[in-house]
């Protein structure tokens, strides 16, 4: 009797131990999953503020505009933020900015002056890339209570793109499609679909 009770107690203890093990593992897995979700979703809510590291001034008629750059020196293909801040604010003003430089599509040159999505008190451009190195310019056409003004920030130098040469990056990215084409070519040679295409239609 005593021995059967102790066996039962042992079985219960072992079972509860297994349950505890499972529960511990489950809890650990849940905590890990929640941590992963928390880590992965936290940056989604934390959009980086616009950090201006360099400024230039442009006189557009009666308006003085401070142009802010998120990176300096500028490099081609980088994701950049630009801010355009008139001295007395953007209220009751409108206009456009025309960017000119090598490799830019014609339809992307002129855009209306819009508030920067992450810095709403000034105009700006967000996640904008300048495609090629060279000399670039920014021309502002502004209409406001003081009338129309036009001014250009000239000779903005854009250096070569960061990182390895583009040819290397493109070569790495071309490996999978080349591999797939090679696989298709082998299948094509083995199966000779051209010989059986006549009866297909």
């Amino acid at each position: 009797m005593r021995s059967s009770r102790s066996a039962l107690l042992l079985a219960v203890a072992a079972a509860s131990g297994r349950v505890r093990d499972h529960a511990r593992r489950l809890a650990l897995a849940t905590v890990a999953a929640l941590a992963l979700v928390a880590v992965s979703t936290a940056p989604a809510a934390a959009y980086a503020p616009v950090g201006v590291v360099h400024t230039e001034r442009v006189q557009a008629g009666p308006y003085t505009v401070t142009v802010g750059f998120s990176e300096w020196p500028l490099r081609a293909m980088q994701s950049l933020d630009f801010t355009f801040a008139p001295a007395d604010g953007i209220a009751r003003k409108s206009g456009s900015v025309t960017i000119d430089g090598p490799g830019l599509d014609a339809e992307d040159r002129e855009t209306p002056l819009s508030r920067h999505p992450r810095k709403r008190d000034v105009w700006g451009l967000d996640v904008q890339a300048l495609p090629e190195p060279g000399t670039w310019s920014f021309t502002f056409d502004i209409d406001g209570q003081a009338g129309h003004g036009r001014g250009t920030l000239r000779n903005v130098t854009v250096l070569d793109q960061p990182g390895p040469p583009l040819a290397i990056s493109w070569t790495v990215c071309a490996i999978p499609p080349i591999g797939m084409l090679a696989y298709l070519a082998v299948g094509w040679r083995r199966n000779k679909p051209s010989e059986r295409v006549a009866a297909l239609v």
Binding site: P43, M77, P112, S169
Partner: protein, 385 residues
Amino acid sequence: MSTALPVTSTSRASQPSLAVKVSGSGRTGPIAANTVLAGTTLSLFGISWDIQWHVDVGPDTFFTLSHLMLYSGSAVAGIASLAMVLIATAAQRAGRPVDQFPGGKPVRVLGGVFRAPLGYLITGTGAALFLLFGLLDLWWHSLYGFDAVLDSPPHIGLFLSICFTMVGSVIVFAAARHTRWGRAGVIVSVPVLIVFSPITTKAFGALPLPVEPDLVGNVLFSTLLLILGTLTIGRRITALTIAAALGALQLVLWWFSPWAARVYADATGLPLRDNLGDDPPELPSEIPVFMLLAAATITALLWLSRKRGWSGRIAPQIMGAGGGAVIGLSLPIQSALLGGSGPASAELLKMTAVGLVTGVLAGYLAARLAVLLREHSTASATKGR
């Protein structure tokens, strides 16, 4: 002690593993194929949402919801593909015949360690490549920042990886073309690939070409896939059905992409951009809207080919020329209707010629790829289901 082991091994031998049991179930094929299709559809909706997010709102990180949707699409397809490869391998090791296993003819992988149905091998390879290119993309963003360039090398790698998964999905469904779910899958998976595949041609956007490469890509892939689906299933109205499915997909994306971008902006407290105007949604408006006309042309030329007894060596190129010319002609008209400048007659002529030539190539390739797809049919395993 010595008697326990043989008993255990006998009982194990008489009880096949779960994977082997699953391999024999008639529901395994459609469940796995539709899971992969759900994954590729998630990827498609994720990319359309993400592009629209950049247009309408802007701020970006690696973990925006649209990015997560994009990643989860490849994850879902990849896990389903891995499961099917492992199930096929387990079945083969248990001595079950796997020649007719769903997903296409099995291929020996790693010297025969695995038996992978061709379709799932390609869907899984695409998902694995997506992971690798995702890491490359993360490194790229550490150098270049987030995320101004759509056609960066890692992005093109990611798009190609998703395309591989979508191509594999078409192979999986084509292998079951003798079943209703197989044909329905071809009719849905082909439009998904038609929408997604032209994005990869943005890799050539910086080259000084006489025609925009994404326009050529649009004509090439839509004509090729329309004819491929038609000749694989072999029914006269298939092209029209695929075009109708594409139109439905376009309508849903047209509604979903700006809606999701705005709802997510509201949820995260971000404003919409100033001066948005009334431009149509970015990705859905690039899908050819006159595909039903192209499909009707292809269907008519297929009917004519059969009536006149034209050889399959030439008929697909004729179908491609007709369908490609219609799509090529329609693209500048579509652009004008959706707010662009009115098409000049020279532009219409040029795009019709580009469509015609590209369509001939598309028809040539489509017919031969259809032969390969039809030979990968697993008819006896799936017939009648």
